[in-house]
């Protein structure tokens, strides 16, 4: 039996924010309606087939003047891996000093992305 489903996805490419109507047949997109431009169609298709997200969080840092270091992924990650990645980073502790761009975790969860520091963090001055 053929399975048919219609999903509404908000396009976030531009401020117009089209509410795309996507018809899915047997797990495949058969029609995208109510999107005004090709960039939007591309976004909506990816959002249905394989949504990805920028990933960013903090990790613990020792020896700096504050206890957490902000980090990001070098590339977007699959949307359904956000929580796995967040949990993985909860166990990471680094030592100051750190420079912006330093790789904190290589190939996180074998997703093919690295986690990098998004700022410099010096060692705190001894008091």
């Amino acid at each position: 039996m053929k399975k048919r489903e219609v999903r509404v996805t908000t396009c976030i490419i531009c401020p117009i924010g089209c509410k795309a109507k996507v018809t899915i047949k047997n797990g495949k997109i058969s029609k995208i309606e109510e999107v005004e431009c090709p960039r939007g169609e591309e976004y909506v298709a990816r959002e249905i087939e394989a949504p990805v997200r920028d990933f960013f969080a903090t990790v613990r840092i020792k020896g700096a003047s504050t206890p957490v270091l902000p980090v990001r992924s070098t590339q977007p990650i699959p949307k359904d891996k956000i929580m796995d990645c967040a949990l993985e980073l909860a166990n990471v502790v680094v030592d100051a000093p750190v420079e912006e761009g330093d790789v904190i975790v290589k190939n996180l969860l074998s997703l093919g992305v690295d986690i990098i520091a998004t700022r410099d963090m010096d060692r705190a001055k001894e008091r």
């Binding site: 908000t10 960013f56 969080a57 903090t58 206890p67 957490v68 956000i82 998004t118 700022r119 410099d120």
Partner: protein, 417 residues
């Protein structure tokens, strides 16, 4: 106490102040001083660890710390002087600045020009008048962000967020990613106050309910907040009887608006605009006091830091021209007044000759509209309250503008063709 002479003093070392100082230095002003209240430069950006910054200015998708570090490093490369942990207490219309810190003690500076870049502050519970007890666990979104992403604390485990502004949405995601349960985001308006992108990526991704046309009517708990009462509101924003329900929580986050911080502007008798909460500025970003310029969230609250940077550069460049006696006074002054569906417009005064970018805040979402400025009309596909409407007026367009003392800026439905 010795008074030190400085060409340009920039008050605030966030995105606006840094951009202004860098631009002024590039324009040939050597003697610049940034006064920053916090322990580091960067303003709010170091705690905005999410991406989405720089898309228009750098054509890159950066996090807050990455975006601002480019400016901090540039300011340091240009050897722009700055003082941290320094609180400015007063500025005078004669451009004398009194500040205090733990190294210099009380400090007096005499500036030729001043750039105000103090940013804005969050509205707090006291400004909302929510009934109930006064327990711990009620924080503004920005405070929660600082606690989590700079200081490494987890403010709570069961969270309700009041207001759907961008910071509230972003904190909903941060709480969810750090393992908290976000029970709901409660918004009094019939639409989100944040960008679509944040509704999708911060709420829908984490299955966080967005309760539109709802508000928090009461707060419960003695030492720590234990629950809130949430109710539907009618078209006028008043709670509807018998729609109340209780949501248990240990934290209430407020994301209910930002207010430009202008205590210092008042000490210098600078005219403020009641619609923006910031100084009235002309197209040079100059306030009503000659030689005092203003930029960024102290003027009006922006949604994109990229625009703040541009406003900072404009203010910095014109402060430099002022110091170098190269800033021609505006011969004609056209005051722009907010008309239909326009809450505010910046700059409020233009000369009507040189190209200028107007930033408008609209009252309600509309589609297929025309922006009218006096006799000029500019079509726009869509306008929404969370997104500043940007209107570039070219020299050509301005040639056609009727040069009245006052022009109304309105947004109207496009007439049927």
């Amino acid at each position: 106490m010795a008074k030190r002479n400085v060409d340009i003093v920039v008050i605030g070392g966030g995105s606006a102040g840094l951009a202004a100082a860098i631009k002024a230095k590039e324009k040939g002003i050597e003697n610049i001083m940034i006064l920053e209240r916090s322990e580091e430069l960067g303003g709010i950006l170091p705690q905005c660890i999410h991406t989405g910054f720089g898309l228009s200015y750098f054509k890159e998708n950066l996090t807050g710390p990455e975006y601002i570090s480019r400016f901090i490093k540039k300011a340091q490369d240009l050897k722009i002087e700055y003082k941290l942990d320094t609180m400015v207490l007063e500025i005078t219309p004669e451009k004398e600045i009194t500040a205090v810190n733990s190294v210099d003690g009380l400090l007096t500076l005499q500036a030729k020009a001043i750039v105000l870049a103090m940013g804005c502050r969050e509205r707090t519970r006291g400004m909302l008048g929510i009934a109930g007890t006064r327990p711990a666990g009620i924080l503004t979104a920005g405070t929660a962000q600082r606690l989590m992403d700079i200081e490494g604390y987890m403010p709570g485990a069961k969270v309700v967020i009041l207001g759907s502004g961008d910071i509230g949405l972003i904190m909903a995601r941060r709480f969810a990613m750090e393992g908290a349960k976000v029970e709901a985001v409660v918004e009094i308006l019939p639409y989100s106050s944040g960008l679509d992108r944040n509704v999708v990526q911060c709420l829908e991704d984490f299955n966080i309910p967005l309760l539109l046309q709802h508000t928090v009517t009461s707060i419960h708990g003695s030492d720590r907040i234990e629950a809130v009462t949430v109710a539907k509101v009618d078209a006028s924003g008043k709670p509807v009887q018998d729609t109340e329900r209780i949501i248990k929580c240990d934290t209430l986050i407020l994301s209910v608006g930002l207010i430009p911080e202008n205590e210092l502007s008042r000490t210098a008798d600078i005219a403020l605009d009641s619609a923006t909460g910031g100084p009235v500025v002309n197209e040079y970003m100059e306030t009503s006091v000659e030689g005092i310029f203003a930029c960024g969230n102290v003027v009006h609250v922006y949604d994109l830091v990229d625009h703040v940077t541009q406003a900072g550069e404009l203010a910095g460049e014109n402060a430099a021209r002022y110091v170098l006696n190269q800033l021609p006074p505006l011969t004609k002054k056209i005051t722009l007044k907010a008309g239909d569906n326009v809450r505010s417009v910046v700059p409020q005064i233009i000369g009507g000759k040189e190209p200028v970018t107007l930033y408008l805040r609209v009252k309600k979402p509309m589609k297929d509209v025309k922006v009218t400025i006096g006799n000029l009309t500019i079509p726009k596909r869509v306008v929404k309250p969370p997104e500043m409407v940007v209107v570039n007026l070219t020299r050509q367009a301005l040639e056609k503008l009727e040069k009245r003392d006052e022009s109304k800026v309105s947004i109207e439905e496009k007439a049927e063709r």
